[in-house]
Amino acid sequence: MLMNLFKFKGGVKPPTNKTQSVTLPIAAAPLPSRLVVPLHQSIGGMPRPVVQAGDKVLKGQLIGEADGWISAAVHAPTSGTVLEVAMHVQPHPSGLDSLCVVIEPDGRDEWIAHQPFDYANATPDEARNYLQQSGVVGLGGAVFPTHGKLTPSKTVPMAELVINGAECEPFITCDDLLMRERAEEVVRGIGVFRDLLQPQKVLIGIEDNKPEAAAAMRAAIQAVGEDFAVVQVPTLYPAGGAKQLIRVLTGKEVPAAKRSTDLGVQCFNVATAYTAWRAIAHGEPVVSRLVTVTGNVHAPRNYEVLIGTPMGELLKLAQPHPDTDGIVMGGPMMGFLVPSDQVAVVKATNCLIAHSERLFPPKAPEMPCIRCGACAEACPHELQPFEMYWFSRAKNFGKTQEYNIFDCIECGCCSFVCPSRIPLVQYFRFAKSEIWAREREKNAADQAKARFEFKQLREEREKAEKAEKLAKAAAAQAAKKAAEAAAAAAAPAKAQPASGEAPPTPNATVAPEKDAKRATIEAAMARAKAQREAVQPKNVDALTPEQQQAAAEIEARRVAAHLIEPEPATPASEKTE
């Protein structure tokens, strides 16, 4: 099929280094000695652990429950015993810890009871929910929960579904091998996405350095009877970036602060389609993935690896050369050196590169920017990296945002071409994370302010209410007093003419008032007494003799300690009779 392809600006052509790892077919990595499965493997909410130390788990059993809509479940990659749920170092540039479930495999690799999902009779909502429960996330590297991308926009009709098989980053070949060996399942997975999103057409973009993969995909599409278009795109880094691939295949440019769905395009990785199909057709959640193990090793190869496998153990399979001094996760352009060889393979791990100074010679020191503009020419997002660099360096973060630093995909093209060897992407990452931190602080401050103001408001309101209540009570009291005084004044007035003889005393006007007061006090005391007597202690009914004795002893002690007056009244036991 002939198709008019578009171009994105910039891009670079680093040596691809892909041939080393495609000679051998995919191999299943053996069970490791233990599995460290991080709970937070996708963007969004941190899944809650649902197992604890000592639990026996089966392969595919839920161990982390999705927290919220943008979050995906995590499952046990093999059968065995949970050793602990604890903090372990993460495959993250920070080298910090996060909550992991550590599983000791029992060697049986026994599946939990699972069955295919009845996809034909399910509503789209049920299918999305099922994918979330199966832990299907974007395996291209961003690990965004897939179900969150499978809801068609209500306003914009879905025009194109773009499937990303470009795999532009050097060294990485896991998607290539997946398409060569398991094309049919990939195609069926794409069919699921097509059914859920209802696009007008489906475009599968594959870089033209992978003719075998493209041929296998075409054959599979024919075999399955679909009408997806396999498009070979020119090999140019970063053609596999979502926005770049969309640009190349559809000519649509996703504007800043907008999503591709706003233009009627959605993009998925081929490996994501594969795992989605495994989940639907076989009921298997995502417990493993393909990982390219390459670099400074004797036998580079692609392995099907259980999530949670320590990277050091996986690397050993490919026989690293003795001068290996680290492991890079991801490719050489966007990857990073992992903090330790004990960190686990996660859903985002597409490639491990054994690092050595021979393979990646240390960069010469950074030199001043000479304003040559090479970075701006290489930037696939048409940003101005040199400007962003100045402002990031000067910590003028507002200006970096004016230059759209958040559109930077950190592809590394600018650093790659910089003749002064400035680590531009490092500066951009620094600026971005500072801006995010400030945003967080700002939000926290705003929230604190709102809560503080509300508390003040509430306190004032309560004070006002209390004052009002007191004023009301005082007014009522005064009115009552006045009424009683009037009544008391009226009573002697009536009585006086009847008796006749009583001489008017000098304090005659005061006496009735005093009497009235005393009367009310006496009445109140009588009421209180009646109330006291009406209340009978109920906890002394039906006591056993031992309890009665204990109570009597305590009573005696309390009398002895002069805590209460000795009570000659009837003991509790007699009262009940």
């Binding site: 950074e366 931190a437 401050a445």
Partner: protein, 186 residues
Amino acid sequence: MDILLAIAIMALGAVVLGAALGFASIKFKVEGDPLIEKIEAILPQTQCGQCGYPGCKPYAEAIAKGDEINKCPPGGTEGVQRLADLLGREVKPLDAEEKPKQVAIIDENTCIGCTLCIQACPVDAIVGAAKQMHTIIAQQCTGCELCLPPCPVECIHMAVIGENIDNWKWKYPVVEIKAAPLQEAA
């Protein structure tokens, strides 16, 4: 005649412009002092009172009236810097030592449920009731320490919020300088 016309034109212009200005001053009247709001936006809103004022807004008002800008320890040196930039004043070292961000933690075994800390918390970040255990809503806690003094059983302590994977930041790129191998004297 000409001069009268000129005066009339100028007078008319003055009246029209005066009316426009008068209208604008009513229509676009700014309520409150915008400077106080700007200062308050820089203050960290912990409402801790360490500046000697009962909250961030009173301190913002005091700064606007000329009080020192270095009395806010939670805002840190950076806060002083930003206030200095805003007000065109000199940067001064912080009046107290700068503390890392903290969160209060109630030892729930010791808590007697007296509600004194609940009353002291400026942002309602403590839940509990009389004779019921209290606990801190960590996300809402500003780390102001105002709950510490009223507690009769000293069951509240402050814990520093360390670096974790969610709040970790990329560091400023630094140039590594490696010692060059010593050259042998020829």
